[in-house]
């Protein structure tokens, strides 16, 4: 079914967008990542102007994250206190990041910096997640007990110790704030949601119980996405509500399915799957950089 988008000023196949929404919503339900790193490139691939794709994608994240958070909340799998600390860091990270973005733009080479950073981050995180979870799975198979988490000294020596009751952690408040800060900076500089960065950071750096990570990450994605939606709608008028509604419809259904499927997937297996997806996206972006594109030209109409 052809549907005309009032802000993008073009017609799209509603079914294609719906399926895209379903897929991304499913991922967010299972893994607690936003999936923005998949939606935006796909929308651009379908011919939606990049500005509209970037502006509209966060409104889908709000919906799929909301449905995800409610689902996880019912199982008491959201650490609101941790999310608040991360949001605090994320807010300042976004501000510093937008300054950094302008600085990089001023110095030139912004395109290559962003592209290479992106590939390095995706590749690095994907690889380390994959190797860690494969190792865990392998040990469990052989009946060995997993390594006792070594409480590395530097984390304990940080000041401002705070009790995160829900996560059963007594750690420095600087840890979640810094993770949020770096995540916010990534959002500004790389221009995409940072769920795929935050999820591993919450597991490995903060040391949160993996069960709580998805819900907590989704909870704060609601806020960062709402912030992005306001910025885009007010500054650029690039939020297409009709496009958003189709993505949302697919996204919320996908997220519900994802949560149900997620219940039957072991934590380490889920992490292997997420790591594979992250690696695949990183490899695709890397090959885009290295392989000569089939058509060298693109147009932007102002």
């Amino acid at each position: 079914m052809q549907l005309y988008l009032p802000i993008a000023e073009m017609a799209v196949h509603a079914e294609t967008i719906l399926i895209l929404g379903l897929g991304v919503g499913f991922l967010s339900g299972v893994f607690g990542v936003g999936g923005g790193f998949l939606t935006t490139p796909f929308l651009i691939f379908l011919g939606i102007p990049p500005a509209i794709a970037v502006g509209t994608q966060p409104s889908q994240l709000i919906a799929s994250s909301t449905t995800g958070v409610i689902g996880h909340w019912r199982k008491r799998n959201v650490d609101f206190k941790m999310a608040t600390y991360m949001l605090f860091g994320g807010f300042w990270g976004t501000l510093v990041g937008s300054f950094l973005f302008k600085l990089l733009k001023h110095l030139g080479h912004i395109d290559i910096t962003i592209s290479v950073l992106y590939v390095v981050f995706l590749g690095g995180i994907g690889l380390s997640m994959l190797s860690e979870s494969l190792l865990t799975l392998f040990r469990r198979r052989r009946g060995q007990a997993p390594d006792k988490k070594q409480t590395s000294g530097w984390k304990d020596r940080l000041p401002y110790k705070t009790n995160f009751l829900h996560s059963k952690l007594y750690i420095s408040a600087l840890l979640p704030i810094t993770v949020g800060f770096v995540g916010g900076m990534m959002v500004s500089v790389l221009g995409i949601g940072a769920g795929f960065l935050l999820v591993p950071a919450m597991i490995y750096i903060i040391g949160m119980p993996p069960l709580l990570v998805a819900g907590t990450s989704l909870f704060q994605i609601i806020f960062t996405s709402a912030f992005a939606t306001i910025l885009q709608a007010v500054n650029n008028q690039t939020v297409d509500l009709v496009l958003a509604l189709i993505l949302i419809l697919g996204g919320v259904i996908g997220a519900q399915l994802g949560i149900r499927v997620g219940k039957y997937i072991k934590g380490s297996v889920a992490r292997i799957m997420l790591a594979t997806i992250i690696l695949a996206v990183g490899m695709k972006l890397g090959s885009d950089l290295l392989i000569k594109p089939s058509y060298l030209y693109s147009l932007e109409v102002q």
């Binding site: 073009m10 909301t66 709402a226 109409v301 102002q302």
Partner: protein, 282 residues
């Protein structure tokens, strides 16, 4: 009424959001009901007859089957029939021009083995849509300077960029890239020999407007050539605009961006919540 996982404060909060949503829709509807009547497409103005005055004996006259195209939610491209009378023998060229826009052409190149945008050329005045049809090859119609003066044919378009000091080869390369990319997007269209003659004098042609057509005021020009000279011409205007719900929503997004952002966020939150209610299994 046993919603174990959904505490009362949350439900109250969401009910308030639903009310707010209904309120926003009502307000938006009322505000734009009057605005829409005033802002309806400029159809009543008499069509311009630019070239008619130059040719006093009026050897060519055209009109369109419709003078406005309204884009609603189901729009997937449309055809407009141009028909006309040609009182003298000769060859026809018909040109459809969309509103001029600043267009940026980007080219990827290899830098240290990476494929990145290496060149970006700004063309300040490029028609958003350009279609040309003719009864014979355009180059055979008339002298190149006449074709260029009237901007007839893709090869005779003036495509000025803001880049100075380029060689003729470089200029040609970027102009060709611009035209080729526009053609791939179906926004530059070249068709010859699809003018249909009903009698010797009466002709018609179907003009196709694809779904990604830019909105704005269009001009449709017809030219009559004989022995390489321009001997007649006529023109009509065509307005393309969004109508109905689409037009309302677009106006709302531009006039009330804060309100629009709020509406988007509330809609997203509400849909997320609705999904958990509707799709709950237990």
């Amino acid at each position: 009424m046993n919603h174990a996982g959904c505490p009362l404060p949350l439900r109250i909060c969401l009910s308030v959001m639903m009310l707010a949503l209904a309120f926003v829709f009502l307000c938006a509807g009322q505000r734009h009901a009057q605005a829409q009547e005033a802002a309806i497409l400029p159809n009543t103005a008499p069509p311009q007859r630019l070239s008619q005055d130059i040719f006093p004996d009026k050897p060519l006259a055209i009109d369109l089957s419709q003078h406005k195209i309204g884009i609603s939610s189901g729009f997937s491209g449309t055809s407009v029939v141009l028909f006309g009378i040609q009182k003298q023998a000769g060859d026809l060229a018909i040109v459809v021009r969309g509103p001029a826009r600043t267009t940026i052409l980007r080219e990827k190149g290899s830098v240290l083995g990476f494929w990145l945008t290496t060149e970006s050329v700004r063309f300040p005045n490029i028609p958003g849509f350009y279609a040309v049809a003719s009864t014979r090859d355009i180059a055979m119609l008339g002298a190149p300077d006449v074709l260029a003066a009237h901007q007839i044919g893709l090869d005779y378009l003036t495509l000025e960029s803001d880049k100075k000091g380029w060689s003729a080869d470089e200029t040609r390369r970027y102009e060709d890239a611009l035209i080729q990319t526009k053609q791939m997007q179906e926004l530059f269209i070249l068709r010859t020999k699809n003018v249909e003659y009903i009698t010797d004098e009466l002709f018609k042609i179907s003009l196709w407007f694809p779904s990604n057509i830019p909105v704005g005021d269009y001009k449709v020009d017809a030219y009559l050539f004989r022995d390489g000279a321009l001997i007649g011409g006529d023109s009509r205007t065509l307005a393309i605009a969004q109508i109905g719900f689409n037009a309302d929503l677009r106006r709302f997004a531009h006039n009330e961006p804060w309100f629009y952002a709020f509406l988007t966020i509330v809609t997203a939150l509400f849909s997320g919540w609705l999904a958990t209610v509707l799709l709950r299994r237990d």
